[in-house]
């Protein structure tokens, strides 16, 4: 199905709307361990358009992280292909910045500022002279300006995740990959971070591929949701969620969508 046919004349979309930013087509990803071949996802296809907040949603172990690793270039598909801006994805690269779930993704031997500058410097995406200013701007955006010179071990979990987001955003990647970035946070901080992410998106309209296994988070954060079946992950549905934010939580539409996804995920889960 081509999503472009659904809003052909919508003027609010950028002209590049007709061509997807990220194209994942018939992708099967496998892990080879010593005595086991695990198929993590099977024949997954989806398209992400510029400024999408595209959510991969599915039960634990369905291969969401694996898909994200595939897009990041850490894993090669055994079948199908992935294209970014029309270019085949081959290996990891700084045009796709990943925000991981764990707090230890920051380099403990660098300060917050150095952490955010590091990818800019080593990837030479921007001139050296700009690195500091860009990093600082990004850190300010996630409200950590006062902590620029602190080391990661002096930060709380939520602050570390903010730094990781700032680091990824400072690179202005073609697409931002986020693997359950808020999963390890408490409910309050998580909600605050979701709001901040949406605010940031509203400012700069980046494209993000966001993994979660929380239905609520998917609806609030996502503009479009890809629902995956339990292991091995296959596409079950692609749904719109751009109309819902935190304000709609508890509303009947929101609840209906949530219920619908819930049924999709768990109704037949016990047989399969």
């Amino acid at each position: 199905m081509n999503a472009a046919t659904m809003h052909p004349k919508d003027q609010t979309y950028p002209p590049s709307y007709a061509s997807p930013l990220l194209e994942v087509s018939g992708v099967t990803l496998q892990y080879k361990t010593r005595d086991l071949l695990v198929t993590a996802t099977r024949d997954v296809s989806f398209e992400v358009y510029p400024a999408d907040r595209f959510v991969l949603l599915g039960p634990s172990g369905c291969g969401k992280s694996t898909l994200l690793k595939g897009v990041a270039g850490f894993l090669k598909p055994v079948a199908g292909f992935m294209r970014l801006n029309g270019q085949m994805i081959d290996g990891a690269g700084p045009d796709r910045m990943m925000v991981f779930q764990d707090f230890d993704q920051l380099m403990p031997w660098k300060t917050v500022l150095e952490n955010v500058m590091f990818p800019i410097l080593v990837s030479r995406r921007f001139p050296r002279a700009e690195a500091r200013a860009r990093a600082m701007a990004s850190i300010t955006k996630v409200k950590l300006g006062k902590f620029a010179d602190a080391y990661p071990h002096m930060l709380s979990g939520g602050m570390k995740q903010r730094v990781a987001i700032a680091r990824a955003m400072a690179m202005e990647p073609a697409i931002l990959l986020m693997d359950e970035p808020f999963a390890a946070l408490d409910a309050l901080t998580r909600r605050q971070m979701q709001d901040e992410l949406l605010q940031l998106w509203d400012d700069t309209r980046f494209t993000v591929l966001f993994v979660t296994h929380s239905i609520e988070e998917a609806i609030v954060v996502g503009s479009r949701i890809l629902v995956l079946s339990p292991h091995p992950g296959q596409v079950k549905a692609e749904l719109n969620a751009h109309q819902y934010g935190h304000d709609h939580q508890g509303g009947s539409d929101f609840m209906a969508l949530s219920q619908k996804i819930n049924t999709m995920l768990f109704a037949e889960g016990h047989h399969g």
Partner: protein, 299 residues
């Protein structure tokens, strides 16, 4: 299986207290939320200061005991030892001996580290390398370096090359093993993040793996240093007078033969002081500037 009988419990219920709500006053002076530590707290926090106090106590005990014993041939006093030390450093050969020892040590240490770097690079880049390093370390790590001295003498003759060989042996395995362990322990997330920035090969090792594994590497360097220092002094005791330039170990042996016990004590003091300086000053400083500042180690 016997059935579990629960202990009789008095059925307590918590008292029900009135609720309250408060508006927290704004923290204006931020006094106790964040403040620099006082001088005294700083001193007590400094391990060097605490340890220094213990050393002073031991020195006092030594002096008191030696004066009481009053047998300079067997156990000279602290003051005699210190004056012998001063003499040896200023007028005698002690400084020269220390220089000779340190020179051999640095040569051996540097070669050992270079070899360890090569071996671990090979080990992280190929399975054969990993197996090779694992096997070699398993074989040679338990072998005391000093046990190789007779063989070294046979191969390299009486002189500095034999000493260097033994030191290389004592440094190499400890450093290589620790570095490899450190590399293998670098978390998956750190590795993926590094690859994400487009780092490959040497840059990846230098910018991600080495700093991430630094706690382990540093402890390897410390162990290697400790092995090397002990091995060298022992080796010099056995032989060491290749030419005019004997080392500290040779100094100890010579002075004992001449029954200049205070000189022997002075030599031993030098061995301890150098050991302390390297461990307590050089390695401590490196540690404080790196892994403790980064929160990768406590202590």
């Amino acid at each position: 299986m016997a059935e579990i009988t629960p202990l009789p419990v008095a059925r307590l219920s918590p008292p029900i207290r009135p609720e309250f709500e408060r508006t927290t006053p704004p923290v204006s002076d931020a006094a106790e939320i964040e403040r620099p530590l006082s001088l005294w707290e700083h001193l007590a926090n400094m391990e060097g200061v605490r340890r220094g106090a213990i050393v002073v106590a031991l020195m006092v005990a030594w002096q008191v005991y030696a004066v009481w014993l009053s047998n300079p041939l067997m156990f000279p006093t602290l003051t005699d030892t210190l004056s012998a030390l001063w003499d040896g450093l200023v007028h005698g050969v002690l400084l020269q001996r220390i220089g000779a020892t340190l020179q051999v040590l640095m040569t051996g240490y540097a070669i050992g580290i270079a070899l360890a770097a090569m071996l671990t690079t090979f080990a992280v880049s190929s399975r054969l390398g990993a197996d090779l390093l694992a096997t070699l370390t398993a074989m040679f790590n338990p072998l005391p370096a000093i046990a190789l001295l007779p063989l070294a003498l046979l191969w390299f003759g009486l002189g500095v090359p034999s000493l260097v060989f033994v030191i290389v042996h004592s440094v190499l395995w400890a450093v290589a093993l620790n570095t490899l362990t450190g590399f293998l322990g670098v978390s998956e997330t750190q590795r993926l993040a590094g690859q994400n920035y487009g780092l490959r090969g040497v840059r990846y090792v230098a910018l991600i793996l080495i700093p991430a594994a630094f706690p382990s590497i540093l402890s390897g360097l410390k162990i290697g240093w400790a092995f090397a220092w002990r091995t060298l002094i022992a080796a010099e005791l056995v032989f060491g007078v290749s030419s005019r330039s004997g080392g500290l170990g040779w100094f100890l042996f010579e002075k004992r033969n001449q029954l200049e016990t205070d000189q022997v004590f002075a030599g031993l003091t030098c061995v301890i002081i150098i050991g302390l300086l390297v461990e307590g000053l050089i390695f401590r400083t490196i540690e404080a500037r790196t892994i403790r500042r980064w929160g990768m180690s406590r202590g």
